[in-house]
């Protein structure tokens, strides 16, 4: 059985797994990007109340492997609380938290290091605060953050594979289930690899292209 045969024969299973992976990813991306951006902006505005706690949590999370964090939220925490939560929700929550703080870190860093002189130049040229935000601050911030954030989201997509370990029927678990039936690991995991290459490489390529096009080397020549 070749890779193509496997993909063809088990395409509905793969599609189902892929759908779950995308649903998980969409939740992680949307929560991470919206709440993470908000948290990053608030962290700059309120350094003591929001910035310091945010950095502490982010620092702590960086020391915990994703898998350990996921397992901790799925097993010990639910046992302590006496609740049973759907593994899909647990996986979405875990990875959303990680994504949220990763995005917040990027936004906070870029905003806090934003050169104030560009804003002053806007003011003395008669631009309003809104005009400065739309035409000067946001374009520069977007150029600096979008490529990095895109790569983080690709990493989050890849991290969804960990959800298979708490029984979420995403694409990796589906591949494992098919393999347990027909035992063709080379073909199955090659197919999985090709699937992920087809999704992740274009996104990473887009991030690199955006970075090259819009992130200017502003050093003087």
């Amino acid at each position: 059985m070749s890779v193509v045969d496997i993909l063809s024969k088990y395409h509905s299973a793969f599609e189902s797994g892929l759908l779950t992976t995308f649903q998980l990813s969409l939740i992680i991306w949307s929560v991470g990007l919206t709440l993470g951006t908000l948290l990053g902006a608030l962290a700059v505005k309120w350094k003591l109340a929001v910035g310091i706690p945010s950095r502490l949590i982010s620092f702590t999370l960086s020391g915990v492997p994703i898998l350990v964090f996921l397992f901790w939220l799925h097993y010990p925490l639910q046992s302590l609380l006496g609740v049973v939560i759907d593994p899909f929700i647990t996986a979405a929550l875990t990875l959303s938290i990680i994504n949220l703080f990763a995005v917040a870190d990027v936004i906070r860093e870029v905003l806090s290091e934003f050169p104030a002189q560009y804003l002053i130049a806007g003011k003395v040229c008669g631009l309003s605060a809104q005009q400065i935000l739309l035409h000067i601050q946001m374009p520069i911030v977007l150029r600096q953050t979008v490529p990095v954030l895109l790569m983080i989201q690709v990493n989050m997509l890849q991290a969804t594979l960990f959800a298979s370990l708490i029984s979420v029927n995403e694409i990796f678990r589906v591949a494992q289930q098919i393999n347990s039936q027909i035992y063709r690991p080379v073909e199955i995991y090659t197919a999985l690899g090709l699937l992920f290459l087809a999704i992740c490489l274009p996104l990473n390529g887009l991030a690199l292209w955006l970075k090259a096009k819009y992130t200017r080397d502003n050093s003087e020549r």
Partner: protein
């Protein structure tokens, strides 16, 4: 008139501007000279209301700004505007876009009836043709045709200085404050800028320049102000350079002239 009365500004415990009073009339070119660290740039920033003084008063025509402020009021930009020594060109825009942005946004603000129109900080709007003509005139005046489409990091320092000056004057300010804008220009370019500044002053624009180029000061200035230690030591016409009264000024000039 642009007037500063009793301006004082400290950073920490160090007084940088110490009870300075000066006045600039429309159409007049004032040059501020002095040694490094004398407070020239800080004074310029305070006059432009970019830095808030600790105490004093700034009067821009009929608007008065008291410090400490009792009521926060809208600074009169771009009626008064500044070109900084570091230029602060926006890096994501070409030099042309840097110059054009304040102009095109001002027209949109006027069309949208920005509240600043009511406040009197925006002049009446103008047509797209006027906008293009004004832009073209400035580019031609500063001979920027060959490099105006470059980004700031692709242009030389002299080219960036010309672009920053063009951006400052595109909205035809009433008072133009310039901080060391001639430092990287060649003699030819300095004389071009000087001739343009003279034209602006003839149109009634008051200009304050901080510079260390004494020849430029001699050629440009209607008024020369020598500052040291945050205080005005001597002020007047060209006699401040040709026949200074204060010993501190004489010493400064002799050091500069012997170095050159």
């Amino acid at each position: 008139m642009l007037e500063g009365i009793g301006l004082t500004k400290s950073f920490g415990s160090q007084k940088i501007v110490d009870n300075v009073s000066l006045a600039l009339n429309p159409g007049e070119i004032s040059v501020i000279i002095g040694p490094s660290g004398s407070g020239k740039t800080t004074l310029l920033k305070v006059l432009a209301l970019v830095e808030q003084p600790d105490s004093g008063k700034i009067i821009v025509d009929d608007e008065q700004f008291n410090f400490p402020p009792v009521v926060a009021s809208q600074p009169p930009w771009p009626k008064i505007t500044v070109v900084f020594q570091q230029l602060f060109l926006w890096p994501h825009l070409t030099l042309l876009q840097n110059i054009q942005l304040p102009l095109s946004l001002r027209q949109k603000a006027y069309n949208g009836k920005d509240r600043r129109v009511a406040a009197g900080n925006l002049d009446p709007g103008f047509s797209d043709q006027d906008e293009q003509r004004r832009l073209g005139d400035l580019i031609e005046l500063f001979e920027m045709q060959s490099f105006v489409h470059r980004y700031p990091n692709e242009a030389s320092l002299g080219q960036r200085q010309r672009a920053a000056l063009a951006r400052a004057v595109i909205l035809q300010p009433k008072y133009l404050l310039l901080d060391e804008i001639t430092s990287s220009l060649d003699v030819e370019q300095i004389s071009i800028i000087l001739s343009y500044l003279r034209k602006l002053s003839k149109k009634g624009i008051g200009i304050v320049i901080v510079t260390h180029l004494l020849n430029f000061a001699r050629d440009a200035a209607d008024k020369i102000i020598f500052i040291d230690g945050g205080q005005i030591i001597e002020s007047g016409g060209r006699e401040v350079l040709d026949a200074p009264k204060q010993e501190r000024v004489k010493k400064f000039l002799s050091v500069i002239e012997s170095a050159s």
